[in-house]
């Protein structure tokens, strides 16, 4: 049996998260096909290393409804033992729907592949690690992209198969998308993340932290408390109900470290915590902790980063 990876594309190229999902899927040791929704991305998709075929399901618009995509995936299911996607909105909304329609299993946010139908994922906001196996003809699963490196480019171009056009699901219509303002870096794939919590105290201070993040080429993150207080939009939220990040360096400014927040960042390589409360739980996961006034520390770091440029 084969694996199908739903590959989101950006500007005609396979997105980084999809390339990482290809690496995850390849660990099963079975042939991997890509499904792209943008015909103009087929050529570049065909050169992703290690894949067998590219299926092109050209959508009527780039904003395909998850219901339409799910119908497509359910039709393809009989050819695949695994249909995979990055743990992003499109995969999270289309894959479970497709699984139900095809009578398959659905798992989300896989962090490791243990066998052809054996996977590892977290429970209870990452407090528990579970090994899961599936007995379905087709398993549908989303993968935590940051757990794998991106697949490279291959020597040979894979075959491209153009699929017949399907009708769009008629009862769902996109009205608008609203993209929240954030620092230039994409949070989920940034090498450095600078996050702020309720300790920031105001939207202005969070903006200042965002400037510091931009200064060092980092993405800006936030705890749920900071988002709920209105300091920053919820797309910056890191944690169980927000984004999961695993950067090289994670700075936590004024974040106490609730279990729900730790779930989203504890796989970071180096965690730096700055908090005035020496008993804050964030220090239990921090590699480098500094008990002190975060504004003083931030000021000194700003000057240091400015001088180093």
């Amino acid at each position: 049996m084969r694996t199908l990876v739903l590959a989101e594309t950006e500007n005609g190229q396979v997105a980084d998260a999809a390339l990482r999902t290809v690496s995850a899927a390849s660990e099963r040791g079975l042939p991997v096909d890509l499904l792209v929704l943008d015909a103009s991305a087929a050529e570049s998709a065909a050169r992703v290393a290690g894949i067998s075929r590219v299926l092109v399901a050209a959508a009527a618009s780039v904003d395909i409804a998850p219901e339409t995509l799910a119908a497509r995936l359910a039709l393809l299911a009989s050819d695949y033992s695994l249909i995979a996607a990055a743990h992003r909105t499109l995969g999270r909304s289309a894959l479970p729907r497709a699984a139900a329609r095809a009578g398959g299993a659905f798992l989300s946010d896989i962090t490791a592949v243990a066998g052809a139908n054996q996977f590892v994922r977290g429970l209870y906001a990452g407090s528990v690690v579970s090994n899961v196996s599936t007995a379905a003809a087709t398993t549908f699963a989303t993968f935590r992209a940051s757990s794998w490196p991106a697949a490279g480019s291959g020597e040979q171009a894979a075959d491209i198969v153009v699929l017949p056009v399907l009708d769009s699901f008629a009862k769902t219509r996109l009205v608008e998308r609203h993209t929240a303002n954030q620092s230039g870096q994409d949070l989920a794939s940034a090498r450095i993340v600078v996050s702020g919590g309720r300790g920031l105290g105001s939207q202005e201070n969070m903006e200042r932290l965002g400037h510091f993040a931009a200064q060092i080429g980092a993405a800006l993150g936030a705890s749920r408390a900071a988002v709920d207080a209105g300091y920053v939009s919820n797309t910056a939220q890191v944690g169980q109900t927000g984004k999961t990040v695993a950067p090289d360096v994670y700075f936590a400014f004024g974040i106490s470290g609730a279990i729900q927040h730790l779930a989203g960042m504890k796989d970071s390589k180096v965690i730096v915590a700055i908090n005035k409360d020496p008993d804050a739980p964030i220090f239990s996961v921090a590699d480098i902790g500094l008990v002190g006034d975060l504004f003083e520390v931030l000021g000194e770091l700003e000057r240091h980063a400015g001088a180093a440029r």
Partner: protein
């Protein structure tokens, strides 16, 4: 449009309780504080607000599980749901996976008239987030996941859903399944008089076999473990020491930033 709303809920370990894996490799929830799944509370609150606004006439809460789950149904009734349903899954309970729950809900809806299913976006115990889209798929209804706003329109619903970089607003025609983000509504406090009143509200118990669905688990947990502990870190006294510690670890080595 005056419709009935079904709110499927789950009984979970309270979000403030730290869950641990015991020596026999299981999560023992005996004695742990159990609660209504927080996302389901937000869904229920929104359903109650829609009823209070005249959009809906009736709110039913439903859960699949053991008789012990009646406590969270009573909590939901005390918040204001009109009635409650327990689908007693008895010996099949350990085998319930997302598709099993979606199939039970689908079977229940085949004989009951609801114009909206509103549930939490994920349960905070297994963190899968599959049931809403699975149920919508079985019903062939439109879906709106991670909703932060929901309004009735002439033909259906307008729902604002979180996505990777912001929000997307969708028009959904006719009956639909919507899953709630924490931002959809702030759950009301349960008052003592309402707890007393909730004891008199109808709570129906249905054996899962009466729905003609046999949950056959497609996903099975083979083993549970604690995540690897991080090595104890260091404390630094000053920002200068912090900068030195970062430089010593060469943490910016791959990022092109001068430490």
């Amino acid at each position: 449009m005056a419709i009935r709303i079904l709110v499927p809920v789950k009984r979970v370990v309270d979000p403030n309780v730290r869950v641990r894996v015991n020596a026999s490799g299981a999560v023992d929830t005996t004695g742990l504080k159990m609660s209504l799944n927080p996302f389901d509370e937000c869904a229920l609150e929104k359903a109650l607000q829609l009823r209070e606004a005249g959009v809906a006439t009736h709110v039913t809460v439903l859960t699949c599980g053991l008789a012990t789950s009646q406590d969270v149904l009573r909590t939901a009734l005390a918040m204001g749901a009109n009635d409650a349903v327990l689908i007693d899954t008895a010996e099949a309970t350990p085998a319930l996976d997302s598709l099993g729950v979606a199939r039970l809900l689908h079977a229940y809806l085949a004989t009951h008239d609801y114009g909206l299913v509103l549930c939490g976006k994920q349960a905070i115990d297994d963190d899968i987030g599959g049931v809403a889209a699975m149920l919508a798929g079985l019903l062939d209804w439109p879906q709106g996941l991670d909703a932060s706003a929901l309004d009735a329109t002439a033909e259906g619903w307008r729902v604002t859903c979180g996505d990777d970089s912001g929000t997307a607003t969708w028009e959904l025609g006719g009956p639909c399944v919507v899953s709630a983000d924490l931002r959809l509504a702030e759950p009301r406090r349960v008052t003592l008089p309402n707890i007393v009143k909730a004891k008199q509200k109808p709570l129906e118990i249905l054996g899962y076999r009466t729905l003609g669905v046999e949950p056959a688990p497609l996903a099975r947990i083979d083993a549970l473990s604690e995540p690897p502990a991080r090595k104890a870190g260091i404390q630094v006294p000053t920002t200068a020491a912090l900068i030195d510690a970062l430089a010593a670890r060469n943490v910016f080595g791959n990022t092109g930033v001068a430490a």
